[in-house]
Subunit: 715 residues, 2 copies
């Protein structure tokens, strides 16, 4: 049982080995002709240049926060914080580099059909998937083993939490910066290229096309990877921190029989999930057909196998771990929490799919409303997004209910009270239920390796199509890449459900940990008094509910400003480069300029919204920890609602447009289509910038509060 | 001091007398030529028909709820509930009838210039203003005197609260139903008339023009009146209920020296405000110039005079009332709360003006973004609306802080504890501050009489312009009515700020009252446990944050569905009535049909969103009162944010369009203008349906919880 962290560490290393294996596999495939290699290299260079600059900016931020942590909290915590940030950055860099290698190779393989192309795109994504999962788990387990098991320092659990804050910092900036980049390039490319110049998407004449493709990588690959890195790490940290802070455990007690199962259970689930992901990834093989059902089955197979193994493994783990009958009543209760979390995450993804796929009513209704123009299109999308909040919140609450119930029946609070005789028995009340909620998030994220692989597959297939278009290959190649691409849009739904669902559960668990961390830091003297009827709490709640709106406004505006810079540049190139618009052979746009513009604009724009997320909770916390409690709760519930609204409204508009492009309501070029394009453009920053960043916002604010809890008390 | 409720009652009667006086004044003016009388009658009949049908539907609802209240709570409470509903309905009916008399008379007077026309429009609105304030205050004081002073029944304070619930029920349905009607007609008239048929606004050929004018009356006059009726009543009820429930006062104690000043202070402020409003209303006189500044000064004079008198009077009242030095420390503290509330309400209005007037940056930025099409226009509006939430919440919190501080320094909690020896001293903790918050809302609403007059003036002037256009009068007349109308748009900002600010403060005070009502109903045994960290509270908070999104979605969709029915009908008439589109003399559209369609559609559509607001809190309350507490808090903070977002985004789009129509960015007919029209149409249900209804939603849910508190406990 004590060996579980070590096993988890080993499984993480195995994940990294698999990443290397897939990397070599991708590398040996041919990247195609000279033109394709040129395009691939341009995209790769653009993406790398962005990441390098982003990391430069973020490094400054990380250093400042590390110093603060080192001074106010703990030097080792600062170290752990930096490690979390560096590993997250490394995963993003490696994964994105390989993703930008895989795109042209997928295009080349697509010449021989989907059976060849699908595995390359998937394995390109899998390098990201296993880098993220492997580095996150290896780093976290390393920190745990060193500080809890070996050094046994008093603040070991603060040190672990700081690892999560490091990951969160990178995730926040990557999501915001990458999200702004990708949408600025996309909107810029579309508005001038498609609308003004009347040239198709991904046309090589459009100076912003390369930037658009770079955007897919920095936003949907690197940003998403950093997001899942922090979600994954956070979901393991939350139950560990909750256990340690609620029950006031010192590292030397961590191996005591009563506490040990609680501390290592999340790691055990992560271990199982990692092995399951590795096995699952081998099940993804391309068939010979471009039939979307067959392709979809091939891609889903990996996730499904991994989830099935995880479920079975978790049941076994629970039966083995929770034997001590003085502390554990129902051995399977916590397995139920984990599986419940997994199912709810899956259903959240399905709900998102219902509201955003053109197979169902909502998107069809938006498409219908395009017939009365852009205004009704926008209104219908807003109403679809808003009503999807209802279904998602209810699902989430069912998940919370199941997880709470599972934890309650599993853990015998009386037994736990006896064990933790030194602390106030009140602190143990409902511990089981909250612990159940905390582990439910791991249910969704244990299979991060394979889930991220599938998710990163999408932009690779998308890029592959772009390269086919820009390299002017046979339209048949484009057909294959299009089939692979459209698949990516639906499979991403699962990852989205997991990301948003786990964000809420993890934040909730971290929130409870924060309460106990304050109590601990004050030596049991200062308990948070979070009665909603108290004025500081209510004021905090109001501020918390307001913040997500502010954050959304800032990020939407940021996209707008960055996009308009791009538009000016694209217009300039069309005006000043003779022969460009006409497609004269040998005349190339200055793509690098567009990439540079998007890079600079998005990095500049990410500072304020990103900074707010860190600074505001600190300011409130130093004034009143009760207000901070209200603030975190308000931001969590409103941020969750707004995140779901924005993501689903954006997705629904996107697919309504695509649905019309298949010929419905007049098809491409009709007035309906024009209205749908308006909806889609409104939705772009919703679904790819503000919405996904909101999930991280919620957690980063909670975890920064948790890390600084002792500083708030001391102040 | 005991006489204050009687004085307030008398002042209310005086307000009603003034309403009659203004009614006679309006009536004696000439309504103009036959065509104008015909148009006026059509609008009047349409509006009355709507209200009658609306009241029929609402009566069914009121009866059901009255029976529930009678059975579960108290027969007298049911009676008071019905009285609140009936008086609110009566105020709406009377006010709207006179408003629809005043429109043609304003047009006729406009022939002689603004000096004649302004007072008629204002006095037409003043009938609504003083009917609302007079009937609300008279009814409420009547109930107070009968049940607290005369009958002294035990549940007297529940009976008073039920009056507020009656007003809230009507307000909710009027805002939602009226809001759907007005926007369905507006959108329908614009989309087919202006966009498809290419005929100007208010053109007599458009079959939906009359419906559009009816909509102004049922939405902006009757709906707004009912809204302010309940806000006004609620702002007086909240501090009374708070005092009674926190301090566990029986009616026979109400005249005891300690409690009396607390109970009658809000009524005293209302008395002063009523007198001040009457005086203020005499200061509104038209000048001879159509210069907008002069007109604006004339109109604002009424409000400014009334507010100045209220401020001075409140200071005097406080000095006189709060003499007992055992209970009151700083005599002026509560005056500071009231005045602070008034100022914050004013500043909230100014903030709304900043974000929605074309004199400032935000609207200009939206106008600029119309140049890149409707998508960027919509995005910019959304971001403007969202960022306005930040400024508004911070202002509101400053107001809460000032009000809390005022109450804290005013009330000596130790003295109060001695007085209320029978109750747990914990209950008195922070009572002063919360009481301060409760009375701050009255600061904004004491001058309801004149504020509503100015607000109702807007749609009358708007209608007057419509009649001038439809009756094909000299364009000079239209110029005068346009000058009067454009004024209405800016003066309404103050009422909006008051409505939203007071909604938050009142809901907060009622929320606290709810906590104590639960304690009281259980005989002190069941205290709410509203710690955010508890799972039922958190679940409630999540549900509460979700509900405003659901409500917004339903109301937006309702407008869309109702508008599309209208569009179909208008298209049908243009197609089937020969000569209509061409404007052949003697060919008239079937306006009544359009009115009937809008009426039926909007009433059908109001049931579900309206019903949800009543049913959801009841369901949650019977399951868990702690969850209900969380729910109300979540709905309050998120609903407030969403209300501000929607109202300001909608207002900003509207004025960006109007700004472009003055010639900016290409002016009318340009692509920029088309993009601005899209923004405006998206904003229509935001600012006139979902946004304003949200304010009532927040309160109606709180007050229904408060009324049913004893039933929840007994269950």
């Amino acid at each position: 049982m004590e060996a579980i962290p070590y096993y988890a560490l080993l499984s993480a290393v195995a994940g990294l080995v698999i990443a290397v294996f897939y990397y070599l596999d991708v590398k040996k495939a041919s990247p195609g002709n000279e033109r394709m290699v040129f395009l691939m290299t341009e995209i790769q260079n653009g993406a790398k240049a962005f990441l390098k600059q982003e990391y430069t900016w973020v490094t400054a931020f990380v250093v400042v926060l590390a110093v603060l942590i080192g001074v106010f909290i703990q030097p080792f915590a600062a170290l752990s914080y930096v490690l979390g940030a560096v590993l997250s950055g490394l995963a993003g860099y490696v994964g994105m580099t390989v993703a930008t290698m895989a795109n042209a190779r997928t295009t080349e393989a697509a010449k021989e059909g989907p059976a060849k192309a699908l595995p390359i795109a998937f394995r390109g994504g899998a390098v990201m998937g296993f880098s993220v999962a492997g580095l996150a788990l290896a780093g976290l387990m390393g920190v745990y083993i060193v500080f809890v098991n070996v050094l046994e320092i008093d603040d070991a659990f603060e040190v672990i939490t700081s690892f999560g804050l490091g990951a969160s910092s990178i995730a926040l900036f990557s999501r915001v910066g990458g999200g702004i980049f990708t949408k600025a390039a996309d909107v810029g490319a579309d508005l001038v290229g498609k609308v003004e110049a009347g040239i198709p998407e991904d046309d090589p004449r459009n100076p912003a096309t390369i930037a658009d493709n770079v955007g897919d990588n920095v936003g949907d690959v690197a940003g998403m990877g950093a997001d899942l890195f922090e979600s994954y790490a956070g979901s393991i940290i939350a139950p560990v921190a909750l256990t340690a802070f609620s029950l006031s455990i010192l590292p030397e007690q961590a191996t005591e029989n009563g506490f040990l199962p609680l501390l290592v259970f999340p790691m055990g689930v992560a271990f199982i999930g990692m092995i399951a992901s590795i096995i699952g990834s081998f099940f993804v093989r391309g068939g010979s057909s471009t039939d979307s059902k067959a392709l979809s089955r091939a891609l889903h197979m990996g996730t499904n196998v991994a989830m099935a193994i995880t479920i079975v493994g978790t049941i076994g783990l629970a039966l083995w771990l929770f034997e001590d009958s003085a502390i554990f009543d129902n051995q399977l209760g916590l397995a139920a929490s984990v599986i419940g979390g997994l199912l709810v995450g899956y259903l959240l993804g399905k709900t998102a799919e219902y509201y955003t796929s053109d197979h169902f009513g909502p998107v069809k209704a938006i498409a219908r409303d395009t017939e009365t123009g852009p205004a009704t299109t926008v209104l219908k999308g807003i109403s679809v997004g808003m009503i999807s909040v209802g279904a998602s919140v209810i699902l989430l609450l069912i998940g919370i209910g199941v997880a709470f119930w599972g934890g309650s029946v599993a853990i015998n609070e009386a037994g736990l009270t006896e064990l933790s005789a030194s602390i106030d028995p009140d602190r143990i009340e409902a511990f089981g239920g909250i612990y159940g909620i905390a582990v439910a998030a791991i249910g969704m994220l244990a299979t991060t390796g394979v889930v991220v692989s599938v998710d990163a597959y999408g932009p690779i297939a998308d890029n592959a199509g772009g390269i086919a278009e820009m390299a002017e290959l046979d339209p048949k190649v484009r057909e294959v890449t299009d089939a692979l691409d459209s698949l990516g849009n639906t499979t991403a739904a699962v990852a989205k459900g997991f990301a948003v669902g786990s964000a809420a559960l993890t934040a909730l668990a971290l929130f409870k940990s924060f309460e106990f961390a304050i109590l601990e830091a004050s030596g049991g003297e200062q308990a948070l008094s979070l009665d909603i009827g108290r004025v500081p709490v209510f004021v905090g709640l109001f501020l918390g509910a307001m913040l997500p709106f502010l954050f959304a406004s800032l990020t939407i505006d940021a996209v707008g400003r960055a996009a308009s810079k791009m538009i000016v540049e694209v217009r300039r190139q069309f005006a000043e480069i003779p022969g460009l618009r006409e497609g004269k052979p040998g005349v190339n746009p200055d793509s690098a300029k567009c990439v540079a513009i998007s890079t600079n604009a998005s990095l500049k724009e990410m500072i304020i919204p990103g900074g707010i997320a860190i600074v505001v909770p600190l300011v409130i916390g130093f004034i009143s920890v009760d207000a901070l409690g209200g603030f975190l709760a308000g931001a969590l519930v409103t941020g969750f609602a707004l995140a779901i609204f924005m993501a689903n409204a954006g997705g629904a508009w996107d697919n309504a447009k695509k649905y019309i492009e298949t010929g419905a309501h007049g098809g491409k070029g009709s007035d309906s289509h024009k209205a749908a394009v308006v909806g889609d453009t409104v939705g772009d920053p919703f679904k790819d910038t503000s919405g996904p960043a909101m999930n991280i916002l919620i957690k980063v604010m909670t975890i920064v509060s948790l890390v600084f809890a002792s500083a708030f008390v001391a102040f």
